[in-house]
C-alpha cells in the first residue's frame, strides 16, 4: 500500500519495466528487419521458371552399345553411358576395391546397361573427359577430370585424385524401355 510508483517499477535486481520495453522493442524490430530482408535474400534462389525447366526427356533408341552421349540438364552436362557387358563386368568386379566413397554398382544404376551421371567433377565442378572417342578415360576406363586429375571408374566412382565423392546419379525414371526422363 505504501509502495511508491518508482518502487513498483523496479524489480529486485534493479531492472525496470523500461528495460523490458526496450528489449522487447529491439527484439521486435530485429525480427521485423529480418522479415523484410528475407524476400530479398530468397529472390536470389532459383526462380519458378528455372525450377520448371528442371526435367528433360531423352530418347535412348539411337544410342548404340558402348556409346556415350551428353545432354544438358539444369545447365549442367548429364552423361548417358550405354555400357557394354565388359564395362558392366569391370564395374561390378570393382565393387570390392578400396573406394573413397563406397557404393556398389547395382545401387548406381536402374538398368545395368544404362549409366546416368551428372557430368560435373565433385572436386570443383569441371566437366570430366571421356565422353568422346579419343578422350582420356582415366586409369579405370571411366572418366578423367583434366582440372586437377580425378579418375572415375566405369561406374562413375571416384578412384584417384582430389575429388571427394562419386559422380552424382541424378533422379531419373524410364518412361518406356527407350525413353528416359531426367529430373
Amino acid at each position: 500500500m505504501s509502495e511508491s510508483v518508482k518502487d513498483s517499477d523496479q524489480g529486485d535486481d534493479g531492472e525496470t519495466r523500461r528495460d523490458f520495453l526496450t528489449l522487447a522493442t529491439v527484439a521486435l524490430g530485429a525480427a521485423g528487419a529480418a522479415a523484410a530482408v528475407w524476400p530479398l535474400v530468397d529472390s536470389m534462389n532459383p526462380a519458378a521458371d528455372t525450377l520448371a525447366l528442371s526435367s528433360i526427356e531423352v530418347d535412348l533408341k539411337p544410342i548404340e552399345t558402348g556409346q556415350r552421349i551428353t545432354v544438358k540438364w539444369r545447365g549442367k552436362p548429364v552423361f548417358i553411358d550405354h555400357r557394354t557387358q565388359a564395362q558392366i563386368k569391370r564395374a561390378r568386379a570393382d565393387d570390392g576395391a578400396k573406394l573413397r566413397d563406397p557404393e556398389v554398382d547395382k545401387a548406381r544404376v536402374k538398368k545395368a546397361e544404362w549409366l546416368v551421371l551428372v557430368g560435373v567433377c565433385t572436386h570443383l565442378g569441371c566437366v570430366p573427359l571421356g565422353q568422346k572417342t579419343g578422350q582420356p578415360r582415366g586409369e579405370f576406363d571411366g572418366w578423367f577430370c583434366p582440372c586437377h586429375g580425378s579418375h572415375y571408374d566405369a561406374s562413375g566412382r571416384i578412384r584417384k585424385g582430389p575429388a571427394p565423392k562419386n559422380l552424382t546419379v541424378p533422379t531419373y525414371t524410364f518412361l518406356t524401355d527407350t525413353m528416359l526422363r531426367i529430373g
Binding site: M44, P46, A47, T50, R74, H123, L124, G125, C126, P164
Partner: protein, 425 residues
C-alpha cells in the same frame, strides 16, 4: 584532424565565404590539404596510396561507360563485349584500360600493403586503418572476380564455376548456398545478371570504405620511413603543395607504365581462352585465375586432407581445409598489430624483422608462381611449404621476433638525423 582547429580558407572571395558559411567544404579542403601536416621524410613508397585512389576512379569511370554498351545475358554478353571492342567508338580503349586497370589496381595496392608491412604502418594507433585496408582488398577481390565473369568467355564461366563451388565445401549448408549463389543449378544467366549488378555496386562500397580509410589516416596522419611519431612543427610539411606535386609526378610515371600495357600489350595479363565463348559442356584444359589471385589459389590447392596421424581417419577433407586456409590467409593479417607487438615500427631499426620481411615477400611471390602451375610433384611440395611458411611467418615468427629481437636505437625526431647529417642515403 587533431593538429589545428578548422579555419576558413586563406584566399576567400565573397562567393566562397557565402558558400562556406552554409556548407564548409572550403574550410574542409583547407584543413585536410593545406593545413594537414605530413611527415617531411616520406619516400616514394608513400605514393601508392594516392595511386590506388586514382586507379579506383579510373576503374569506376571506364566501368560506367562499358556498362552503357554491355548486355548481361548469357546469349549476348560475349557478343556485346566484342561489339565494344570493334564497333563502339574508342570501346577498345575503354575496355583495355578497364581490363589492365584491374591488374594495375592490385599491383599498386599490393605494393601499398607491403610498404605498410615494412614500415610497421599497421601498428597502433593505426590498427583500424589497416583493417579498413584489408576490407578494401577483400572487396576488390570479389569485385574483380565478378568483373572477370562478365565477358562470358570460357575462363569467365569456368572460373566462376570453380570459385562458387568452393562454398560447397561448407558442411551441411554448402550445397544450398551454392544453389543460392547461382540462382539455379549451375552457373547460368541468373548468376551472370547478379554478378553484373554486384560488380556495379561493390566499387561504390569500396569508395565508402576508402573514405573511412582516409578519415582514420587523417586522425593520426601518415606513418613515415623512420616509424617514429612527429614531435614538432619541424618534422612536418603541409600536404599541399609538397605531396600533391610529388603524387602528381608519381602518377605520371605510373601512367606511362599503365598505358604501356594498354597500348602495346593489352592482353598481357589475360588468358587467350577467355576469347572463346563460354561452353558449359566443355572445361578448358587448364583453369587459371588472374595473377593477383594466384597466391591465394595456391594456398587453396596446397592443403591436403587433414587426418589423425597414424590412422586413415580424415578429420577434415582437403576441399574444406583448403577453403579455410585461403580465407584464413586473408583474415590472419588483421591480427598482425597484436601478433607483432614490437614497439618499433620501421624495419630500418629491426635487423631480424627486416630479413623476415623480404623472405615473406619472396614466399608470397613463390605462392603466386605455384598457383599458376599444375599441383603435382615438386610444385605441390613447394606450394605446401610456402603455405606453411605464410602462416608460420604471421602466427609464429612475428610474435617471436617482437619478443626477442634487439632493435637499433631510434632517432630523437624525424628532423634529427637530417640536422645531424646522418640520415642521408
Amino acid at each position: 584532424m587533431t593538429s589545428s582547429s578548422p579555419r576558413p580558407p586563406s584566399s576567400q572571395g565573397p562567393i566562397v565565404r557565402w558558400i562556406d558559411e552554409r556548407l564548409p567544404i572550403f574550410t574542409f579542403m583547407e584543413h585536410e590539404l593545406n593545413d594537414y601536416p605530413t611527415p617531411k621524410n616520406l619516400n616514394y613508397w608513400w605514393n601508392f596510396g594516392s595511386l590506388a585512389g586514382i586507379v579506383l576512379v579510373i576503374m569506376i569511370a571506364t566501368g560506367i561507360f562499358l556498362a552503357m554498351n554491355y548486355t548481361a545475358h548469357v546469349d549476348m554478353a560475349f557478343g556485346s563485349v566484342e561489339r565494344i571492342m570493334r564497333d563502339v567508338n574508342y570501346g577498345w580503349l575503354i575496355r583495355y584500360v578497364h581490363m589492365n586497370g584491374a591488374s594495375m589496381f592490385f599491383l599498386v595496392v599490393y605494393i601499398h600493403m607491403f610498404r605498410g608491412l615494412y614500415y610497421g604502418s599497421y601498428k597502433g594507433p593505426r590498427e583500424l586503418l589497416w583493417w579498413l585496408g584489408l576490407i578494401v582488398l577483400i572487396l576488390m577481390m570479389a569485385t574483380a572476380f565478378m568483373g572477370y565473369v562478365l565477358p562470358w568467355g570460357q575462363m569467365s564461366f569456368w572460373g566462376a564455376t570453380v570459385i562458387t563451388n568452393l562454398f560447397s565445401a561448407i558442411p551441411l549448408v554448402g550445397d544450398p548456398i551454392v544453389t543460392w549463389l547461382w540462382g539455379g543449378f549451375a552457373v547460368d544467366n541468373p548468376t551472370l545478371q547478379r554478378f553484373f549488378s554486384l560488380h556495379y555496386l561493390l566499387p561504390f562500397v569500396i569508395v565508402g570504405v576508402v573514405v573511412l580509410h582516409l578519415v582514420a589516416l587523417h586522425t593520426h596522419g601518415s606513418n613515415n620511413p623512420l616509424g617514429i611519431d612527429r614531435k614538432s612543427e619541424k618534422d612536418s610539411i603541409p600536404f599541399h603543395p609538397y605531396y600533391t606535386i610529388k603524387d602528381m609526378f608519381g602518377l605520371g610515371v605510373f601512367l606511362i607504365f599503365f598505358m604501356g600495357f594498354v597500348f602495346f600489350a593489352p592482353n598481357f595479363f589475360g588468358e587467350p581462352d577467355n576469347y572463346i565463348p563460354a561452353n558449359p559442356l566443355q572445361t578448358p584444359a587448364e583453369i587459371v585465375p588472374e595473377w593477383y589471385l594466384l597466391p591465394f589459389y595456391a594456398i587453396l590447392r596446397s592443403v591436403p586432407d587433414i587426418a589423425i596421424p597414424g590412422t586413415s581417419i580424415v578429420f577434415m577433407e582437403a576441399k574444406l581445409a583448403g577453403v579455410i586456409a585461403m580465407f584464413g590467409a586473408l583474415l590472419v593479417p588483421a591480427a598482425l598489430p597484436w601478433l607483432d607487438f614490437s614497439k618499433v615500427r620501421s624495419a630500418q631499426f629491426r635487423p631480424i624483422y627486416k630479413q623476415l620481411f623480404w623472405i615473406f615477400l619472396a614466399d608470397c611471390i613463390l605462392l603466386g608462381w605455384v598457383g599458376a602451375q599444375k599441383p603435382e610433384g615438386m610444385t605441390l611440395f613447394l606450394g605446401r611449404a610456402a603455405t606453411a611458411y605464410y602462416f608460420a611467418h604471421l602466427l609464429i615468427l612475428m610474435p617471436l621476433v617482437a619478443k626477442f629481437e634487439k632493435t637499433r636505437p631510434l632517432p630523437e625526431s624525424i628532423s634529427d638525423p637530417v640536422l645531424k647529417n646522418e640520415g642521408g642515403e
